[in-house]
């Protein structure tokens, strides 16, 4: 039983015109695979991410926790005056907090990205076409049970009309 239809393209513009047509026919596009990021594809697929908010949160957390630690270590845990400087040395603490803000922001954002995209070393993946990471663009459409044969024919027609080099059913 075939469960998915794949339209394989070799040109970015043809791919986008095909995507637009499929969207206008209200057929759900499961995923688009491309060798490089294409902004039109993101628009058509209505991609959204909360990653920047997460980064903001991580950075803020990093800065605040660092400042609190510095305050606790220098004022509470072991108050020791040296060089006549105040225990609570705001400029130094801000500087350290600033750097740690970047540290936490970057490190945790990358980890969040990897977790959210489920990327990890040694992951076994289903590669629809080994050329995706080279030069082809693939539109993947899952066949749902309520998909009529008319829709499938229409899909094939759109793929062909928009210059797909291959149409595969997997």
């Amino acid at each position: 039983m075939n469960t998915a239809i794949l339209g394989v393209y070799e040109d970015e513009e043809l791919l986008i015109s095909a995507l637009r047509k499929i969207r206008d026919e209200k057929i759900e596009i499961s995923e688009v695979f491309t060798p490089y990021p294409i902004h039109e594809v993101f628009e058509i697929m209505k991609r959204k991410t909360r990653l920047p908010y997460a980064t903001f949160l991580f950075s803020a957390l990093g800065a605040i926790l660092t400042y609190l630690f510095l305050y606790w270590a220098s004022v509470r845990s072991y108050p020791l005056i040296f060089g006549g400087k105040p225990l609570h040395s705001v400029p130094s603490f801000i500087l350290i907090s600033f750097v740690m803000m970047i540290f936490f922001g970057v490190l945790l954002s990358v980890i969040a990205f990897l977790i959210r995209s489920k990327l990890y070393p040694g992951k076994k993946v289903k590669i629809h076409d080994p050329r995706i990471t080279d030069n082809v663009f693939v539109i993947l459409i899952d066949k749902t049970p309520d998909m009529t044969s008319d829709q499938i024919n229409l899909l094939n027609a759109i793929f062909k009309e928009c210059g797909a080099v291959e149409i595969l059913e997997k």
Binding site: E31, V32, F33, T34, P35, Y36, P37, I38, V41, F42, M45, R47, T49, L51, P52, T55, S59, F69, L70, A73, S74, S77, Y78, F82, S89, S92, F93, L95, I96, F98, V99, M100, I102, F103, G105, V106, L107, S109, V110, F113, L114, R116, S117, K118, L119, Y120, P121, G122, K123, K124, V125, K126, I127, H128, P130, R131, I132, T133, D134, N135
Partner: protein, 451 residues
Amino acid sequence: MYNTEIRGPLITGDKTLHQITEDICQPIDKKPRYWWYAVLFFCIVSLVYGAWALRITIGEGIGSWGLNNSVSWGWSIINFVWWIGIGHAGTAFSIFLLILEQKWRTSINRAAELMTVVAVICAVHFPILHIGRIWNGFYILPYPNDRGPLWLNFNSPLFWDVIAILTYLTASSLFWYVGMIPDLASIRDRTTSKIKKAIYGFFSLGWVGSSKDWFRFEKLGWVIGGLTAALVVSVHSIVALDFATSVLPGWHTTIFPPYFVVGAILSGFAMVLTLMIIIRKVYKFNDYITDSHLNAICKILVFISLIMGIAYSTEIFVAWYSDNEYEMFTFFHNRVTGDYNKAFWVMLISNAILPQLFWFKKIRKKLTIVFIISICINIGMWFERYVIVITSLTKDFFPSSWTDYKPTSVEIGLFAGTFGFFILCLLLFFKYLPMIAMHEVKGVLKYKLDK
């Protein structure tokens, strides 16, 4: 904003997407040529020298260095600052241009980022080694201890250095690695060797190029880029504060942080230029690293070198204007005309004057001259640190404590070792990793005015 009308095509030679993959992966598929082994041999020799110096430094202590009571900072801090400066290549180049949406960065950013990571690793060696007892190196981190607990001196720029450089190393290596994931997947999918498939497959983290992943990937690049861009400024400012918070003439100046940052960017860009000319020549990447790319870097160097010139003259002017006899002595009698005048003039000519030749289009087009000038800047930047560190320390307030400083073979060995390490990493990078960010180059292939 620049557009391609000014810049010209970013990639020449009417490449197809497949050709880009083939061209960039070709060094990975082929056996390295004889020069690769020749340079590898040179690296191993330097590394052996470095290992010997390391053994002496750890086994006998830093007494084996040429330091004395007056000159307590010598080659190790010079080389540390120099490497950190070169380490600004990747971030300054790749990330600033990413944030400014300069599409021409795409052919160069990968190599520049690698340089950053390796140069920072080289730099880190020196502060760790200068501790003497490196097995106690963890003392520089704040950890709960049974001495009170007695914490670190959080007001010290030396501690700020530790966290700034750790952060910089983490951020720049993550930025480099994450940016490489799609390209590692490319190699995984095209290689026929089973071992390569397994290794590149492991490190490509299961990347398949879905729009969902690409979208997050791009956002992540922006987010890390935005955060790390601030590091470019902060890391070298903090390194400058190591000097500027002292009371030594020649160090005790407010100009130091911006002056160091600009110097770092100058040496970083110069090293990028050196490396790019080599890569372009050796691997025949003329279609990717075009004349227009090198031209643009040269123009940036003119600008940065002008700022350097202003910084140098400001220092000298302020020394004269302050009418402080110690400042006057350090700058006029010790640096400009004194015992260290050769180093001073090498620094001034190669950093502030030679790059001004890039005003001329004819010179920008002659790659041999560009290459020589880029090497001169690298040397000049080393002498800048030499002038700053050594002139101020050898002749301080007490003529009775004036002394001379010469590095011993151990210090030279440590520098040679880091140099060998740097080139070794570059060689491995040339052989095993995609030197040019393939997915980014593919993205700008059709970059037209209407986009």
